[in-house]
Amino acid sequence: MTAPLPETSATGTATVVADAEIPVPGTTIEGRSPWRIAWTRLKRDKLALAGGIVVLLLVLVAIFAPLIVDLFGHPPNEYHEDQIDPLFGTPKGSWGGINGDFLFGVEPVNGRDVFSRVVYGARVSLLVAFLSAVVAVLIGTVLGIIAGYFGGWVDTVVSRVMDALLAFPQLLFIIALISVVPNELWGLTGSGVRMAVLIAVIGFFGWPYVGRIVRGQTLSLREREYVEAARSLGAGRTYILFRELLPNLVAPITVYATLMIPTNVLTEAALSFLGAGVKPPTSSWGQMLSKAVNTYEGDPMFMVIPGLAIFVTVLAFNLFGDGVRDALDPKGSR
């Protein structure tokens, strides 16, 4: 066992970047912004890049879902009973009925195209995950920065509220809440209501995690000289909070937001699995899995495919998020 090396990121990229820091004779040394440095580092992290590319592809799939289904699939709610073995209700052929026409096979009993349902499921999953992360980041940042900067009773109130929210059995509470929410709300109906409620509730329970981090960072940043300088020059509170402090909080917030999205994907899928997600016929991955619970003995593929969809999405976001964290880590050598 040798003595530990100084700060090396998990994938060993930091050492590579450090080598690149040595100026090559004949070139000029140019200043680089922290974001540029982070980008350079991220580009060298192959796993993170792979994750990022998969994330990008998933987003494109979600956006162009109707087009993709038009080209390669069948309408997501079209029944194909001719693909189903009438005796067992399982898809004809092996591997859950996968063939050139049905790329991911068909759903047991009614024969809906699994490919189309997975593609449309990506929409629900990503939309809910992104927007609830946005909600959490917005509330968490504003309240965290206010609590950290003003201190005193404001801080006490915000911190206690965060503690109380973190003590809530979230999953349980969200399911219970969704079960009492009416079918029509804010002019939305059906799946629209469920999506809006999912986004609001997942985001609402997510903000204390962001809030704690922002509050902690603000506590240390507000004592810095540049804040004092701004104050002595007569800058107002709002200016200091959002023009001086916020830009310095963007890095930790970015890291947390990227790592929050996969958690939200899992939460949305879990809620759908428990029957508290978007309503049928809108498809979502968790809902497909919960349907598969009754049929996977005879047709395991219908369980494996949505499960893999969730797994790949979460893994890709995690790889990318870890990469972003390592790249933005100020402890890593620049």
């Binding site: 059995p169 349980l172 369980m303």
Partner: protein
């Protein structure tokens, strides 16, 4: 120390009251806003208005929310009498009310459901600690090697797998394909071997997820600790590597792990829902899911409260233990 404990206990009680109030408020007022009537939910849709009115009187459902809340909280500590229709029903402390569906008292239903949840959490915890901490320490010591990368990729895959998917895969393989286990929950007192056989798959599924998280955490903490000056000092004064790692580094590494462990165990009481429903374990989480589908408000409220209590108490225990484990913590 004593003053600190008292203050923390007070904070715990306030926190639980807030959680109860919020839960109570949401689940007893939202149905009202949307036109659903808790009294009608209690007796069923076919009941005549007179019966519904009787139930409303008996359960005090037309009282203001705060009055209802007071009756509910005092019922938990002192028991509660339901008067109406010429009869008095006594609900002994701790009284969480009666199920809307089965008309049984909520508290005994919940205590019946607690053992499977505790067994699930406890057994899985032993496996994930052994597996996760070992993998994390080995990875930190063998940083950058194939072992480290392999372990960390496995861990990343582990945290990315939804637990109910792992559960279904395990069931498909070990129950249906190989037929090694029945995966039916039986009481420990009735059949210890069957109890073990019924819980082994849920333990593995849950432990895999948490072992992955703990491996990542342990590795990160261990690497940070290994960079500390006192580790260099320990090496410099000629301690064996076994002593440096096993005694000096491990102690600091375990402190954050103990914190997370306490919080995770507390949270598991409420968040084992997914594992329980995937494996059909008759635990608290499953009771909650059934109650939610039945709109059985008193049971939902009971489970939420028990789960919140577990989280808050676990946090308190961790904080107190922290003061014992880590001498740097000053209780001010």
């Amino acid at each position: 120390m004593f003053a600190y404990i008292v203050r923390r206990l007070f904070a715990v009680i306030v926190m639980l009251l807030v959680v109860t109030l919020v839960t109570f408020f949401i689940f007893f007022t939202i149905p009202k806003l949307t036109g659903a009537d808790p009294a009608a939910m209690y007796v069923g849709k076919q009941a005549d208005p007179e019966t519904i009115e009787g139930i409303r009187q008996k359960l005090g459902l037309s009282d203001p929310v705060l009055v209802q809340f007071w009756h509910f909280v005092s019922g938990i500590f002192a028991g509660r009498d339901y008067t109406g229709g010429g009869t008095v029903d006594h609900c002994p402390a701790p009284c969480f009310g009666y199920s809307f569906r089965t008309e049984q008292a909520v508290w005994p239903i919940l205590t019946d459901r607690l053992p499977p949840t505790l067994a699930l959490a406890g057994g899985a915890c032993v496996i994930w600690l052994l597996l996760g901490v070992t993998a994390g320490v080995v990875s930190a010591l063998k940083r950058g090697t194939k072992i480290d990368r392999g372990a960390m990729m496995t861990a990343l895959a582990g945290v990315s797998l939804p637990i109910y998917f792992t559960a279904l895969l395990l069931l498909a393989l070990f129950k249906y394909k190989l037929g090694w286990t029945s995966s039916e929950y039986v009481d420990f007192a009735d059949d210890p071997a069957g109890w073990f056989g019924g819980l082994i798959l849920p333990w593995v599924a849950l432990a895999f997820l948490y072992a992955a998280m703990y491996a990542r955490l342990t590795r990160a903490t261990m690497m940070e600790v290994l960079g500390e000056d006192y580790i260099r000092t320990a090496r410099a004064k000629g301690l064996t590597e076994r002593m440096v790692i096993g005694k000096h580094a491990m102690r600091s590494t375990m402190t954050p792990i103990a914190t997370i462990l306490g919080m995770d165990l507390g949270a598991l009481v409420g968040s084992a829902i997914l594992t329980e429903s995937a494996f059909n374990l008759p635990g608290l989480g499953q009771a909650a899911v059934t109650a939610i589908n039945n709109r059985d408000l008193p049971i939902i409220l009971g489970v939420v409260l028990i789960a919140a209590t577990a989280v808050v108490v676990a946090n308190l225990v961790v904080d107190l233990l922290y003061a014992v484990i880590d001498p740097r913590v000053r209780l001010s």
